[in-house]
């Protein structure tokens, strides 16, 4: 974990500095009208996060000298998994946006079932068709909520 800690803390520290000195000034109005300026609180909280990241980085560097490096919590398999799942989720979200909830929902349920190594076609078809369709109709008929 310590190698992961060093990398994470370093990334957070750099991102924190970037946020405090570039993003916050660009994305908030600087003018002080009453009390404190709008940028005060975001700057305070991000500065605190940046300072804690620096402490975490220093602590991890000091600790990693003497101790054995623990097994990584994020393996190449984890990256592949989160990459595939994210791509699948955003792809299905796109389908929901352009073709509607029922089509996108069927695609989403079916693709995740296949991803989880479900191989029975009947089960995949039944679950993926029944779930989004029933959600859509229950929400519309009982709560008058129209899904896309």
């Amino acid at each position: 974990m310590r190698r992961a800690d060093i990398v994470t803390a370093a990334i957070l520290f750099v991102a924190g500095l970037l946020t405090v000195f570039v993003i916050i000034p660009l994305q908030t109005t600087a003018g002080e009208r009453y009390g404190l300026p709008p940028a005060f609180f975001p700057t305070c909280s991000m500065a605190a996060a940046t300072a804690f990241s620096l402490l975490l980085l220093l602590r991890s560097l000091v600790q990693s000298r003497g101790d054995a490096v623990l097994p990584a919590s994020l393996t190449s398999r984890s990256w592949l998994h989160i990459g595939s799942v994210s791509a699948l989720l955003f792809l299905c979200l796109g389908v929901i946006k352009y073709l509607g909830f029922i089509v996108g929902g069927i695609l989403m349920v079916a693709s995740f079932m296949i991803y989880m190594r479900e191989r029975r076609l009947v089960t995949i078809s039944l679950v993926s068709i029944i779930t989004p369709t029933s959600i859509y109709f229950i929400l519309w008929n009982f709560l008058r909520i129209l899904l896309p």
């Binding site: 996060a49 919590s73 998994h81 995740f112 089960t123 896309p148």
Partner: protein, 495 residues
């Protein structure tokens, strides 16, 4: 007194009772499935409560939480896999009992101990919340600022393995809450050109993403190819092994009471949570037992101790929420969102402005315990079958519920996209041991902290030393510094 009676009477409508029963059934169902838990179900269910009265909505959600705590014990006993982390201590004796053919006995003890612990902590909540709220009403902005900083530090230090990581998560949660319009000048902050972000990031997008979807993503990854070995409530076992006699329950009463006190104490402190309570209760029961060697080999006392303690946290967790507006755990943080949807801001003022609702919730908590007992007893065989539903079916269905919940919360696909982004963030936070609980609580407490800090600075003409000039705020800041020193030192020693 009139408000107390009116509030209690409000609960006894068919609709409210039905919603409590529905919440408990959903909670037990969700709790029984390994990998799913109460806060996750609450996050997904909050958007469904938009159309309910505030009392029905809150009691429905609290019903889910209560049911899920008991539901977690079902898979702990039958599968040796806790439905949620809170039930981990139940595995120690529950599973050995099930292997001895006494699954029914263990499940019944878990149910009775759960209901006892839950009722005990609800009664403590009812007795202490109003007096504490009276004290809290006397606090001004400097005191509130100091209390929130103290609460966040405590939550950050006990919610994860590292104090520093907890503090980073809390500060990041507070920062994310700054997205949207500035509360004083109403100018956009950190909106990155997105008009949708001017209302801020919806709590439900974060809640559903980090609690539910990220957990499902992790569960899919960890989805074992080897099936878990489940023990069914066998018909071939002796009848006395499937029932719990009054004598057996009475024998564990002292343990249940002790664990209820421990669970209530732990639950009243922000951040500690039911898992710690369950282990503390279990440890205390083992130390006090005349036969400690039987613990871990299948003793009813072990099941009773763990279950009474983890359920006693539910009511006690509402004490800081109702009295100070500070969520003690992640479920309470999501409940804040539900309260706000219905125009109620949790905190001491709630007792003045929504007294009838508070007493209605108290009544509902007690009714929920009775219903938990009834539904848990009669539905035992059904819920024991739930754990056999294959994960290839459950997880994809939950994903589509997450999408629906996030859409309903903001009526836009933008919120769904945000939910997916926070699910990915939650995945990395869990993998790298950053406390997502602290992140969410930081997000929820951010606006209160900002408002009270800005009020303090306005009152003191931009002099932050005002925080040190008031005795109560000074005391809390000293406590904060002491906690950081003490807890940081302890973590340093433990490596």
């Amino acid at each position: 007194m009139e408000q107390v009676l009116a509030g209690f009477i409000d609960v006894f409508t068919v609709v409210n009772i039905l919603y409590i029963a529905l919440g408990i059934t959903m909670g037990i169902f969700v709790g029984a499935v390994p990998g799913l838990n109460g806060p996750m179900a609450i996050a997904i269910a909050v958007p469904l409560t938009f159309f309910l009265s505030p009392l029905a909505a809150i009691t429905f959600l609290v019903g889910i939480l209560k049911g899920s705590r008991y539901g977690g014990s079902i898979s702990a006993i039958l599968l040796n896999t806790p439905g949620d982390p809170e039930a981990a201590a139940t595995c120690f004796d529950g599973y050995p009992l099930a292997r001895q053919g006494k699954a029914g006995k263990a499940l019944k003890m878990a149910l009775y101990a759960s209901v006892f612990g839950d009722t005990f902590s609800d009664l403590v909540l009812i007795m202490v919340a109003a007096p504490i709220a009276l004290i809290a009403l006397k606090m001004g902005p400097p005191e509130i600022t100091a209390v929130i900083i103290f609460a966040l530090t405590i939550i950050a230090s006990v919610s994860g393995g590292s104090l520093l990581k907890g503090l980073i998560a809390a500060a990041f949660g507070i920062f994310i809450n700054c997205v949207g319009l500035d509360p004083v000048t109403a100018t956009p902050r950190l909106c990155m050109g997105f008009i949708e972000l001017q209302d801020g990031i919806p709590l439900m997008a974060i809640g559903i993403g980090m609690l539910a979807l990220s957990e499902v993503i992790i569960q899919i990854e960890e989805h074992a190819i080897t099936p878990e070995e489940s023990i069914s409530l066998g018909k071939k076992t002796k009848r006395e092994d499937q029932t719990l006699s009054f004598h057996e329950f009475k024998g564990c009463l002292k343990t249940i009471l002790r664990s209820s006190v421990i669970g209530t104490g732990v639950g009243a402190l922000p951040g500690l949570g039911a898992t710690i309570a369950a282990f503390l209760g279990y440890g205390a029961a083992k130390r006090a037992s005349k036969t400690p060697e039987k613990f871990g080999k299948g003793t009813l006392e072990g099941v009773a101790a763990a279950e009474a303690a983890n359920n006693a946290v539910v009511g006690a967790n509402l004490i800081p929420l109702f009295t100070l507006g500070i969520p003690g755990n992640v479920a309470a943080a999501i409940l804040i969102g539900a309260f706000m949807i219905h125009g109620v801001i949790p905190g001491p003022l709630m007792f003045q402005e929504h007294g009838r609702l508070i007493y209605g919730i108290y009544g509902a908590l007690l009714v929920a315990n009775c219903l938990n007992l009834v539904i848990g007893s009669f539905g035992l065989r059904f819920f024991a079958r739930v754990i056999q539903i294959r994960k290839q079916i459950i997880y994809p269905v939950i994903i589509i519920f997450c999408i629906t919940g996030a859409y309903m919360a903001d009526n836009s696909l933008f919120a769904v996209a945000l939910m997916i982004i926070f699910a990915i963030l939650g995945y990395f936070m869990k993998k790298l041991d950053f406390s997502f609980v602290t992140f969410i609580i930081g997000f929820v407490l951010g606006p209160i902290l900002e408002l009270s800090l800005r009020q303090t600075l306005i009152l003191s003409k931009n002099n932050p030393m005002m925080l040190l000039n008031r005795p109560v705020s000074l005391a809390f800041l000293i406590l904060t510094a002491f906690s950081i020193w003490k807890l940081g030192f302890r973590q340093k020693k433990s490596g």
